[in-house]
Symmetry: C2
Subunit: 225 residues, 2 copies
């Protein structure tokens, strides 16, 4: 899905439009599946993230906003907001408002490795929608626009909160960035986030063969020492 004839808007402009012009928090949503005239109103949570992704694309077209998506949906980012392939990256994340955010920010190793060749990935904007589904009515209860270091934190086990499956580092996971009562606060800046990536690589054998070189290259990209 693309809208390459649309007008350029920054992630901040899109966010403001969605929040303060479209008033998404005041709108009611519905998800329906019809087969042969039998229509079911969806009232669960599992499909919402996937359908919101779809809806945002449709809304961008409707607002005549420029965007491109990747042919391969596994690649980052979800939306490219300009013709430049090294900036204006928008990632969409969704979660159930009544629970803690539990989406995957990215695969841990894939994210680390991408910073070697594509350090600009770190400036991607994350549009986060917290939804609530009740009586088949979907509401966007809150939304945020954040950088990766603003939604990640230290954790009890690793310098970066990640999903660990049987001793293997899998996905980068969000902290409760909006909570005043959270034990772990988001990082202050991208440098702290990058140090936490490296500190976590040190704790996993799976990164042993490349973490030294990774540190040199990535720290150099960002003029860190």
């Amino acid at each position: 899905m693309n809208n390459t004839n649309g007008e350029y808007q920054t992630a901040v402009e899109i966010f403001n439009n969605l929040k303060n012009i479209f008033y998404i928090k005041e709108q009611i949503g519905r998800i329906k599946i019809d087969i042969g005239g039998i229509t079911a109103n969806y009232n669960n949570n599992d499909a919402i993230g996937e359908l919101l992704q779809n809806w945002i694309g449709h809304w961008l077209v409707n607002e005549n906003i420029y965007f491109r998506t990747r042919e391969n949906t596994q690649e980052f980012p979800d939306f490219l907001l300009s013709q430049d392939n090294s900036r204006d990256f928008l990632e969409l994340k969704t979660y159930n408002y009544s629970a803690s955010p539990a989406f995957d920010i990215a695969n841990f190793e894939a994210y680390c490795n991408s910073l070697i060749d594509k350090p600009y990935r770190i400036y991607s904007d994350y549009l986060i929608l917290a939804y609530e589904m009740s009586n088949s009515r979907l509401r966007i209860k809150e939304l945020w626009l954040k950088k990766v270091w603003q939604i990640t934190s230290d954790s009890s086990k690793n310098p970066l909160k990640i999903q660990d499956k049987r001793g293997v580092a899998y996905n980068i996971r969000p902290c409760n960035w909006f909570s005043d009562r959270s034990k772990y606060n988001p990082f202050e800046n991208k440098e702290d986030f990058i140090r936490a990536l490296y500190g976590t690589m040190l704790q996993y054998d799976q990164c042993r063969n490349y973490r030294h070189e990774w540190r040199q290259k990535v720290y150099n990209h960002f003029s860190m020492s």
Copy 2:
């Protein structure tokens, strides 16, 4: 979702109704998400299984067919077709018709363990829907009603085709039960499937502590030696 005032139908009756009375293969489906009057027609695949699950429940209500679902959707089965908690189990599986079936039949260890206390699980019926999404039109291209041993087979790596993640047995996976050209044919009967479960347990350390006792109990349930 439940319809405990509905009339009892067997899995076979439901399957015949869906196929030969409702003519599901000739119907066109649509999935829509609307927020604040902006409607997107869904044209991807990832959400279809979840929405078909929802739709089937709605269709059963519409047909006035008795069913119950579990409070905990992680538990088996997806649908109970009678008041009996040890029979009339219906599982729903879906996959993209243009690819090979790749759904998870069940978690390998959880399935094995459940046969100790609930050997009747083996008689569950699997309603399988193969769908195609094109230009936002959803079609059910084929459907089957099968027992677990009719959709599972030997494999090159294990006596039972499973998903192996880094040496850990995860999920039981389907074979190409409908293909004449497939190297591995489905099992002939439940006993061959059970022997393949055990043969696969022998290949994984994770099952070491309980497989001997498992074999005794489960083989005894089914009068196997």
